[in-house]
Symmetry: C3
């Protein structure tokens, strides 16, 4: 059994940004040498998500607008901001999209559908944050 762990660091320019990390994850799976198993891709922060969806710019704008509708940025609206924070919305967006995915690995590669791409979703950026990628298998 092999375990291979790497960390991806991000520091986005904008508060909210969605980054396609499929290639980076594929490279880590390749580096692990694992042929059969799973790769966990998990945000190490509570104001960022990881999802699998389409790499289509219109859809990414739709997702951003939709998340803003369901969990709006609102300086006045959250009790959490009494702590001095302004990112209550980012915590809710994290809960909504989930902070992690598992990629199955078959034949040495992520076993994904043709349109499935892995995204890091930053909801409170402009500082260094990271994602753990842990590959486990044989």
């Amino acid at each position: 059994m092999t375990f291979h762990t790497e960390y991806l660091w991000f520091n986005t320019e904008k508060r909210r940004e969605f980054l396609n990390i499929t290639r980076k994850v594929e490279d880590i799976v390749a580096a692990s040498g694992i042929r059969e198993g799973m790769a966990l891709v998990s945000a190490m922060h509570i104001t960022a998500g990881v999802w699998v969806n389409d790499a289509e710019s219109g859809l990414l704008a739709d997702i951003d607008e939709w998340l803003e509708r369901l969990a709006p940025y609102d300086l006045e609206g959250y009790r959490h901001h009494r702590t001095g924070e302004d990112n209550g919305d980012a915590h809710l967006k994290n809960l909504l999209v989930h902070h992690q995915v598992i990629l199955p690995i078959t034949g040495g590669r992520p076993d994904m559908g043709p349109w499935q791409q892995v995204y890091y979703a930053e909801f409170d950026g402009r500082r260094r944050k990271r994602v753990i990628v842990k590959v486990m298998g044989e």
Copy 2:
């Protein structure tokens, strides 16, 4: 360590349909011979979900209505439709319910609560789509 991978294919008659796949997953776990481990059940599409919840027809209708309220079908409303697609809502529903679950396996069976059933949630059907089931353990 054993790895056992199967693919379930679906082609629903309706655009949206929720299918109880618990028995199929149990059969795959049994076929794997694995006594201890986990089974990943993961949609290979970005317009379908997998969840664990109740097999109760009233609730399934409630879920459908609720998803339609939070992420409505809307031909005009999504930038994604400029690509020629009409399934923007299905992408959002996928993000909302998540596209995968992990079932723990204990004593050769999925170790689930008495009411937990595994569902494939089709949000853009009437074509062949699939789910990967990867069982990993000993």
Copy 3:
């Protein structure tokens, strides 16, 4: 390969309650002796969730209010209640926040960010319910 399984039982006083179970999960990981691998933390009920987020009381109140807005308690509003139940909202909240997380384990400990805490989210309490923690690794 080692597999270590424990069950956490809960019986909350209130209908909805969010419990920080990070310490309990850390203790189970320590008891497993596993240095590298993953821990699955998964609710065995369809009206409870498990999430990773902040241990901040204002935010927890924000989350409760937000979930109540997106999936409200409503005695009249759900078809599911024709079965005699009154917990339709709890099923939807479960779908929204997801019922499980995977914690990566590195060096014998959950490999989490500094603010990440594991929560059991009860949406229909005042009775005995449980969570499975299955640790898998070496």
